[in-house]
Symmetry: C2
Subunit: 659 residues, 2 copies
């Protein structure tokens, strides 16, 4: 086999040349958080301190000191924290980084001769051995460090207590860091995002379904909701406790091969089409669908949302309906086949004639990529700071990496959510190259053992670069669990999603109104999907789950433990239908334990085996847990505690540990 | 906290600049074997193929191809192997690298449009759909690739079978690798060692104990063995099946503070002293102890060993007795204290006055390091190619990295064994920076669960950079298991060591003669240790374990499965006193299963639960296992098989799987 283009490799030849200065004796290894050896930035946020970990050690019996220094690459702000030895040559510290943007950090380690001297003289003194040489050695160190006065005098007077002085030791450790031989790790990149990237509750709705009119009206003439209707609906969403309102594409929709109801191939004259078939005579990705309204209306949506503490997230779906302006203006932005036709989306043997994928590898790729970034800039200029990206896994990694860096360099607080329902390696790569969040596979993790596998080792492995935003449903995914599980299942999945992940979202009002009809089974497509028709929702229905949604979001807002996934721990349950996890914040001041009857099919009961060590609880100390859903308090002790949950009773406990 | 010297960091700034050419769409991640991101060379050898693994994937539904290219850094020899997809975007291959020395390798990945075309046209053809556009697309690809004649004619004739032609597909894949967009990983270093680094059986003896004279003679006048005696003893060692004979230091021994028997502080006039207190009037590290003989004698030892297929390994103990020539010639190579004295070895509150550690950080470090390398060169010039390094963890990492690279650049086949009985991170670092082998912690892993932990995940994690050489005893370590366990324990530990590790060693004749007396308990020091006195051993004793040693080494030489630790698998046993593992070679053509009664205290029996998948055995297919110790054959089936082992019967099974 012959492979081209391997000639420019940077061959690593063995170097037997001695360096000019003595190399550092301290080794620094296994630094974290580091993603692919620093090729990508690890994720951090202003919402919680970043924990840095490294193995720092030297030959021999030396005493070491170590620190981590963080530097904001744009402003130059520096933060240095001393690392503390936590055993087996591992060192760790937490650092508060309160400026959004790109940072780098290095770990440094050095030999601290004073620390070894303290240990040495105290050991010999306690053993009753001669310490005259040690006294001289200590004086020598103080002199080299430029110390004078009290400590020097005391040591001259053979006062061993100088070795007990921790302030002096800290001064001497700092001095030692100025000597030759400081070991410095590589500089590793870290992206510090704003708090909303780290935690938030998302709500998705279709603005065109917001008009009054009643569900029973003829769908062909059902009135089309507008952005003005949306302004009115914002109170409802904010009152439910959501922080982000995500809108499917609001752009003009193509007519050619427009899809009809139930994803049918032929649309009737009044069918509105899929919002993801972007582009028409009224414009493309930087235009608003005329039936929704104007940029003025959109600006009012953003302004009112802002008053309510809501952020508007828009959809970025980089694909075109056949009449998108780019198709005629830039035909070379689309791939052509041997018969001259534009290549359509395909999954052999199927083809999708209604959508043209963009050819990101066109010869004109630089102009194309620049124009796509301009789409984002357009909406940024209208106040949008959050984008949900449609199918990013079908576009080149390099495009996203460039585009996200480009936008962030102008507007550091922009957040991107990847709709990467794809293979694990691909989804993880998107997280690495800059997406703040990614939809996870939660939607399909149904059984307790599946949830355990998913939220256990798998999600721990990716913690440094993948923030998961979990959804119990989306307009594309109505799981068979929800189709057949009834109200208890809707409750269970709602509680699971909102409690287990710092970022969660839900597609409503379908969810709170218990919409469970699929167009066909087996299958996950909603019947009468809003993707293809205008719907009307009776928000005031007495069975609405809105009150539970609201309560869950309020619990979230009160509990910092629910604002991070870094300290999530799973706890085994005897009953395979029960699933238990706990969440804590970085200083363990807040602890929430959640137990859900995830089967939601029948009464489930049994012991929950808490990992007390992970929770920082003592086995012999009783503790109270307060149920935040039921307003009850239980008295627990030890790791094993009995739980009973029922589809007709409470389907879950959300327990605050009372300290 | 203020830390100096962090100004020269290579800050990683976000780059929003677009590259000149379109970046590759293929991502390459998680390449193995890679040690610390390529900072250190991974270990390989000519004894077995190296397995390369990488995640290779792209956006979209593209079909990919991938390969690994290896290049010998000195000779330029290149080896390229195609990678094969093994699932979940992971690719793998094995490559035979048959030149010792430094290599680098890169993984390359590229999009293979012909492969996608084959898939596409066949899928549509099978579905009975129109393929006229696909035929045109395929012709276009063949033209671009410069193909003519048969395939082009067939495709023009709408002959879809062109898509089934695997040879054509391979040609088209090679062509695709020449297109723009080839993704190339970093070049990762790999050190290919000779076979002896990968597997071997070591025997250690003290040459001064080889003289005739009888154990009952007065130790004060016991005759001192010589290198001439050693020439005679080589047949014994070779006949036991060992490949390496390791000698403790053979240099002149210091008189100042010389240790007497049992490590006593005062030596009598006839006490020979510890061979590790190196240096006297007759010279230092490049001299031979006059009582042992001359360089001429040493050369005869090496020559005779070579005839017998034995290699001589020498000890490198970089420390000095007070009368070592360097102490007077280079007083600045030793650290001085505030009272002007030379700093001795210490472990507060204790000090060891008999040995001066070398100050590797002396201002004159370059001359010192060069001189230490000259010590190695001296013995290399006398035919030595294997060095056992004493306490490398008390000398700077940078020294070893430099020294090993230096020596290897001159003599690539030199092998270094690290006596790094120290903390895990430190021992692992020594493996990373070039030591071919390291003593492991096997000696103290006694119970089945300890062995499971040690040879399970822990040793898997370090497989790319740490080759463990396991010893049931050393002159410094007589475990309490051996002190009290009797003959059965000696057998069990011998079988374990020789079978579980591709590299093993034993300190004899103390081991085969069952020497079990400690100088004190608790403690691990041999009574009447050869470190401090001349001994005499009755090799012909009827209870000698030499026949078992010989048989084990013969089994090793016959079984390639025992020449590597890469494919070692542990299998659970019901009885906590039983320990089971299997070994295979790289192509699974040889399988050896070993079950040992590691408690060796009483009859142990129960089920062994074989991991059949790891062994490549079918659950429903019976298989024969032949006991290589007992010359018996058993008929086994499925994962669970019954085993019974007794201190008085066979203490272990060594089973060859008959295919």
């Amino acid at each position: 086999m012959t492979i081209a283009a391997t000639t420019d490799r940077n061959d690593v030849l063995p170097t037997a040349a001695m360096s000019e200065t003595a190399p550092p004796r301290v080794a620094i290894e296994v630094v974290r958080p580091v993603v692919d050896q620093g090729r990508f930035a690890a994720k951090a946020s202003v919402a919680e301190p970043v924990t840095v970990v490294a193995d720092v050690f030297a030959d021999g019996h030396e005493r070491l000191a170590a620190a981590a220094t963080f530097r904001q690459s744009v402003t130059g702000t520096e933060v240095t924290v001393p690392l503390v030895a936590v055993g087996n040559d591992r060192w760790s510290a937490q650092a508060v980084l309160d400026e959004v943007g790109p940072w780098t950090f290095t770990v440094v380690g050095w030999i601290d001769p004073w620390e070894y001297w303290r240990h040495s003289i105290l050991a010999r003194h306690e053993a009753g051995l001669d310490i005259s040489v040690e006294l001289g050695d200590g004086l020598g160190l103080l002199e080299r460090a430029g110390q004078a006065g009290d400590p020097v005098e005391r040591l001259r007077g053979a006062d061993v207590s100088v070795a007990l002085d921790d302030n002096l030791a800290a001064t001497m450790a700092s001095w030692a860091s100025t000597l030759d031989g400081l070991a410095v790790s590589a500089a590793y990149p870290l992206h510090v995002a704003r708090a909303r990237a780290a935690h938030g509750a998302w709500y998705e709705l279709f603005p065109r379904s917001l008009a009054d009119g009643g569900e029973t009206a003829n769908p062909d003439t059902r009135s089309h909701g507008t952005l003005v209707d949306l302004v009115d609906r914002l109170d409802y969403v904010a009152d439910l406790g959501f922080q982000v309102l995500y809108l499917p594409p609001i752009h003009p929709i193509g007519l050619t091969a427009r899809k009809g109801p139930e994803n049918s191939l032929v649309a009737g004259p009044h069918d509105p089409g899929s919002p993801w078939a972007i582009g028409g005579s009224a414009g493309g990705h930087t235009a608003i669908h005329p039936d929704l309204g104007t940029f003025g209306d959109f600006d009012r949506v953003v302004a009112r949302a802002d008053e309510l503490g809501l952020e508007i997230a828009l959809d970025l779906a980089f694909q075109c309906a056949p009449e998108h302006p780019w198709v005629t203006e830039h035909p070379d932005w689309f791939a052509h086949r041997s018969d001259g036709s534009i290549r359509t989306a395909e999954n052999p043997p199927k083809r999708y004639e209604d959508i043209y994928p963009i050819d990101f590898t066109t010869d004109d790729w630089q102009a194309l990529w620049a124009e796509l970034a301009n789409v984002v800039r357009c909406w940024v200029s209208h106040g949008v700071r959050i984008f949900r990206v449609d199918n990013p896994h079908t576009k080149p990694f390099a495009f996203w990496e460039w585009m996200i860096a480009e936008i962030r360099s102008e507007t550091p607080d922009v957040i991107f959510l990847a709709e990467a329902f794809t293979r694990p390696r691909v989804a993880e790569r998107l997280g690495k190259l800059g997406f703040d969040q990614s939809y996870g596979y939660f939607t399909w993790k149904r059984e307790a053992w599946e949830l355990t596998e998913y939220f256990g080792d798998m999600s721990k492995r990716t913690l440094d670069y993948l923030r998961t935003n979990v959804w119990p449903n989306t307009p594309d995914i109505l799981t068979d669990q929800l189709q057949s599980g009834g109200r208890a299942m809707f409750e269970a999945r709602l509680i699971l999603a909102s409690m287990i992940s710092a970022n969660w979202g839900v597609y409503g009002p379908a969810y709170e109104l218990g919409e469970s009809a699929a167009v066909r089974t087996p299958g996950e497509d909603y019947a009468r999907s809003e993707k293809y028709e205008v719907r009307h929702w009776e928000l005031t229905h007495p069975d609405s789950l809105a009150p539970l949604m609201r309560r869950l979001n309020i619990i979230r807002s009160h509990h910092p433990a629910l604002h991070t996934d870094q300290y999530r721990v799973l706890h085994p349950c005897d009953d395979p239908g029960l699933f238990c996890f706990s969440k804590q914040n970085h200083d363990r001041s807040d602890t929430v334990i959640v137990i859900v009857n995830v089967a939601a099919d029948m009464h489930r009961s049994g012991l929950v085996h808490l990992n007390l060590e992970a929770l920082g609880l003592e086995a012999d100390q009783p503790f109270d847990v307060e149920d935040l859903l039921a307003d009850a308090t239980y008295h627990w002790q030890g790791s094993d505690n009995y739980v009973s949950l029922d589809p007709h009773g409470p389907i879950a406990h959300i327990l605050r540990v009372v300290r």
